[in-house]
Chain length 875, copies 2
Amino acid sequence: MSKKYVYLFKEGDASMKNLLGGKGANLAEMTNLGLTVPQGFIVSTEACTKYYDDGKKLSEEVVGQILEAMKTTEKAVGKTFGDPVNPFLVSVRSGARASMPGMMDTILNLGLNDIAVEGIAKKSGNTRFAYDSYRRFIQMFSDVVMGIEKHLFEHALEAAKEAKGVKLDTDLSAEDLKALVATYKEIYKKEKGEAFPQDAKIQLLESVTAVFRSWDNPRAIVYRRMNDIPGNWGTAVNVQAMVFGNMGDDCGTGVAFTRDPSTGEKRLYGEYLMNAQGEDVVAGIRTPQPISHLEKTMPEAYAQFVKNAKLLEDHYKDMQDMEFTIEGGKLYMLQTRNGKRTAPAALKIAVDLVEEGKLTKEEAIMKVEPRQLDTLLHPQFVPSALKAAKPIAKGLPASPGAAAGKIYFTADEATAAAASGQKVILVRMETSPEDIEGMYASKGILTVRGGMTSHAAVVARGMGTCCVAGCGELKVSAANKTMITEDGKVFHEGDKISLDGSTGNVYDGGIETQEAKLTGDFAKVMEWADGIRRMKVRTNADTPHDAAAAVEFGAEGIGLCRTEHMFFAEDRIAAMREMIVSKTKKQREKALAKLLPMQREDFKGIYKAMKGFPVTIRFLDPPLHEFLPQEEEDIIALAKEMAMPVEELKGIIASLHEFNPMMGHRGCRLAVTYPEITVMQTRAVIEAAYETRKETGLDIVPEIMIPLVGELKEFVFVKKTVVETAEKVMKEKGETFKYLVGTMIEIPRAAITADEIATEAEFFSFGTNDLTQMTFGFSRDDAGKFLEDYYANKIYESDPFAKLDQDGVGKLVKMAAELGRKSRPDIKLGICGEHGGEPSSVEFCNKVGLHYVSCSPFRVPIARLAAAQAVVKQK
Amino acid sequence: MSKKYVYLFKEGDASMKNLLGGKGANLAEMTNLGLTVPQGFIVSTEACTKYYDDGKKLSEEVVGQILEAMKTTEKAVGKTFGDPVNPFLVSVRSGARASMPGMMDTILNLGLNDIAVEGIAKKSGNTRFAYDSYRRFIQMFSDVVMGIEKHLFEHALEAAKEAKGVKLDTDLSAEDLKALVATYKEIYKKEKGEAFPQDAKIQLLESVTAVFRSWDNPRAIVYRRMNDIPGNWGTAVNVQAMVFGNMGDDCGTGVAFTRDPSTGEKRLYGEYLMNAQGEDVVAGIRTPQPISHLEKTMPEAYAQFVKNAKLLEDHYKDMQDMEFTIEGGKLYMLQTRNGKRTAPAALKIAVDLVEEGKLTKEEAIMKVEPRQLDTLLHPQFVPSALKAAKPIAKGLPASPGAAAGKIYFTADEATAAAASGQKVILVRMETSPEDIEGMYASKGILTVRGGMTSHAAVVARGMGTCCVAGCGELKVSAANKTMITEDGKVFHEGDKISLDGSTGNVYDGGIETQEAKLTGDFAKVMEWADGIRRMKVRTNADTPHDAAAAVEFGAEGIGLCRTEHMFFAEDRIAAMREMIVSKTKKQREKALAKLLPMQREDFKGIYKAMKGFPVTIRFLDPPLHEFLPQEEEDIIALAKEMAMPVEELKGIIASLHEFNPMMGHRGCRLAVTYPEITVMQTRAVIEAAYETRKETGLDIVPEIMIPLVGELKEFVFVKKTVVETAEKVMKEKGETFKYLVGTMIEIPRAAITADEIATEAEFFSFGTNDLTQMTFGFSRDDAGKFLEDYYANKIYESDPFAKLDQDGVGKLVKMAAELGRKSRPDIKLGICGEHGGEPSSVEFCNKVGLHYVSCSPFRVPIARLAAAQAVVKQK
């Protein structure tokens, strides 16, 4: 028996979404629920996959099944294709497994030809309507299916109106439209070399093919990448009998939600237009009526619709987004689906449905998209204030949230302005580690160069600061202190602008913003999630301020505290540089002694902010040259400060140059060369634990994390220094402290030899940022140059730095987790790469048995929800 | 029962080398063969490992067994420690599994104390001898065991001689020496705070401890790294009754080989000294006699020695290196081992032993160290000519062989001089890809900067050209065309120098060199190896010249032809640059069209040189910026050539800058962005195959290798371009050609997902250079900065770029081979990283089932032998 590729509506149900697409499965479900649905059939997603496998051709098998289903449908509806009296017309619509609104193609009124148009004219008693429909169909088919340029038809329409001296389409008479149809058919013939197809079968098969083809159009590819939809899913095609909302005053069409998609409020929410087709509602030429008005206009149809809406929401246990058409007073349901909603609405609906007894808590948390929460966690523009604003430029949405303030062009000026109480937007060509302090001081960051993973973007996301990056259309001069838009408008230091880090928009002037709150429905859903999830959620935080913010968001520890970030601060960088340019161990120890009290204070602040939660401290990681100045004047200043000839200092800087800094002298390699750095850091960690205990009674168990380990002996070497120093400090203090020593797994070799490393390491934290770079063999800083080509050619479908590559990097993570547990069954496993806050990656971490994920403070609620959803999904 | 850590000589045998060390196992074997060996016992290598495991302490268990063995030995010898009449004295010597000559410590005459010295005096009738021995023992024990500085004793000895007004030690009388012993004991007491130990047991245990400790002294660590000896093997300690070759004229000592270790000639070869101890032979104060003279002096002992020598060689089936002592006319054997030999001797001995019927061919090939062959494969200085030469500088021995010629300071001048028939030495600060042609034209390359893996070193090794790199003591000015030595001697362009790439020496003037020959014994051993090995041996070659050389050395194909090397030649670089700075695909195709005929000719030349052997061609790999000029004047010249504003060209160069070029836009990533490059290269490959077949009848099966693949879809994308182009060319030519499309496995992700990639790739070639970089996460160009610290701290014991890291990188290779075969059982597997010519790595490749190894032409014979040895070892 041959495989089934085509399903009548009555043959399917809602569970067959993967095969029939979301739209098709729901049409089938509504049919079987007994609702009035214009009948039709679905060409399955497997037919789409087959289409691509067969070299972009519809196979005979599929064609046969389509024509068969067509006949059955004609019979059911009692109409025939091309019939001069009662012709059958259909719509052809795409419908993928996941909703991809507007991404693929739709053809309406298919079946119209020179004969059927007369049938419609007679049946509707409206020749004008019939020819207008025919005209529209020819244009749509020519454009969407045949790729004939739309403007050819638009020109002809304009010409017809001009000839008649009218302005509106509606001023054209039936005769005018008849003539226009003839012109349209001529255009078609001229472009394609053959007549417009009169055979509805050909129209149908070409249209199905066009929908399949549209699955791979560029905007669909981009949409899929943005929304993590795999390219191999394919789309289904829905072929459905046409009903007309535009055949007279007892006709209409509309869309409605069972609850308010903006607020979640429980009330029927939507709008409709009488005597109109769906596209008219969208086009916005006539103003639709609120759905409640329908009660007056067509009480019967309205009552039926209210009944349907309740039935559907109860049935799907979720807010529904429905489309309907009324033809001759009769209500037809054209679509239902779980409605898209804002984050606040998603939370309210989830909570309400539980309270209404329709959902369990486990079901309810599945109704909220974790990534949506992001918008709730950052300051936002006050909606009313935003309405008046017009963007003056657009960059990349590099770090979400909104910010308004005065612009400053250097980190120092930004810091100074912020200190004097200004709200500051830092505007730079690009940022570097030296700008850290200025970035901290700013409400928003705007850069001209750099992508989503540039320094500015990564640091801003970490800090939860709004950032628009790579805004190349602006001309910025730090020397002149000016920023010039494409329109030539010049902004000077101190001028106000606003940034939207979620859209990339830059606005003139200050727009009012409002802060995020984690209360009400949000808090309730989080509480439910916490009750369900198995994994802990920690945060990546380097300062007491970030740590405190993360605790507010529900973090249960620090998974990554990057000690080097502390060294960039103005009061430390000098001692750090002194350490780096030291020629002897003794000189280096002298410089380190200056850093010790500062680092100890840092740790104390963080311990206190974390209130007893575990704190994982990663020892010095970046290559030392990152701390040295690069500009001539800064070098001269440093040389003076260090009482060192400029040339000598330049020599030291040159000697620290690396060809591939990412793979250079960094991480534990620094600890092997300069064990005295490890000694200082260990002392700071343990002394801070001692003092914190003394001052607050809090018992901190610091987890010392050695970065970039690739080999057991390397770890053992550094651990020895840590343990010896820790024991020495404890002896001095006469007290003991519990602490762990573990490692990042971020080098492929560490993952491969994790069984060996686990004999000595008490915990692993997967550093999936670097692990991704090394596993793929491309540097995050350079990959931007070619990844676009990879997306365009469908080689990669998502950014592996944002979404964990489960097939490659994930395989190493899984291997390391298993090998690690083999040697040390109770080994603590976590992740601290950026993936720790990305829902699909969190799900993967749950699956491979990690104990916690760690992410930036602003992603903590997302991770909490994702971790709970992972548990439910894996049940 | 407790574990056995101490073995009497009679309890061991030669097979126990891992446990007893080489020296100890052979002493045991000789004992059991019935030879006269001074008795004793061995503290095993396991005791050494235990010593380190126990925190550098001899456990009670080991101490007990040592003292027990001591007693047994005293009984066997019939002497007692500290006896006033017949005192027992022993030597304590290290003896690891592999010979580490001079790397660890030896203590002689242990057991002497204030009483025993009198016993020796009486027994030998030589008080002077007795006290001289005691004096030496105190000094040796103090220095080697107790770490007291030697010069303290040497000063005392000098003082004694001065006081007496004599110059030679031998002029000191017994009384003088007695007094000196008293002084030595005072020094000891002053330094250690306690008296010199009189208890032989304490002397013994301290000495054993010292030998164990010496396993980890810095020179032993370096030696092990140079010789690939693992640090966890540990050393054994041999404690053996002393016999004295210096007790009178019927005493003597000597060393001898059963065959000449320089030439392999079959004759007893060695020397001896009468009335002397071993150290006197080494010290070279008296000139030893050739061993044959012993026949006259002591015919009986000589006859016995000749008999022993034959017995031992026949027993061990190998040339023996023996030490003996004659005491009172009686011959004692102190050591035997397989003798070290030169490469020609190793070959001759192997061949002779087979012809003498002592060894099978399989056994014989195991007697030749593959790496030794290296010296036979490059030009060498004529030994007599070298004798007179004195080095003027020393750099790193970056690429072996010898060269003499006139110096030139730029690649262009070197090329021009070579073209006019000069022998050229290229002298540069450092080389870059632009120097390739000049490097090819030169007999030798000398650089001031750069290490063993610098551009100069890597390229020179690939070409088989002699290179001394990183010779920092020379001052070179290309502008002044001068090279100045540390002594201030100035060399100008055209002056002659000579380089030894095996030692790093630079000589003034031209020293005569001689070419390598692969004939005679060498050819015979190679032939045997070829009969035994399973794996094919291919070569990495980019030019017809290299390919032809490799075929001479026995290469059976090309495993890696780097097409980009061809683009650096002066006549191509212009078109290449044009291609790179092109702004449109059309411009790029125009530039590529210029490169096509050149590339086609390259391939034809290589196909012809390879005479029908398979040729693997790797498509363009390096990042494009490597091809662009960096110097201002070159940029200006290029801009002129391209009719492009200089600033625009600079912009393009800047836009190609990469933070981590090693992980940047290179390899197949270029093919994804610019498929037209793949089109050109495929066309060149296939057209060349067509023309070669037409011209020579040779049927070439090109293997097209896509570099840097990390994902199946990426490979599929590039393969599609290759296949489409190949089919187009075949259609044009009206003929078909067999060709394969495969990939390098050099990205960790490729190894991890090899099962997927193998569904489309017809072969894998392991690019272990890059795979090592990415698996360890360090760049070869930068690792030099910290690897020395890793060696010093015993974290790594060998350079992972020279010797394949079997635990990490090897695990990925094995995984990929297995996954690859799972998807495609007949997948062709090879290796083309530098490891392909390194014996232990070759053995690993054989073990995991690769079909071939590929290495630089000059390593082909090494790989052939190593591949054969791998088969024998794995039987």
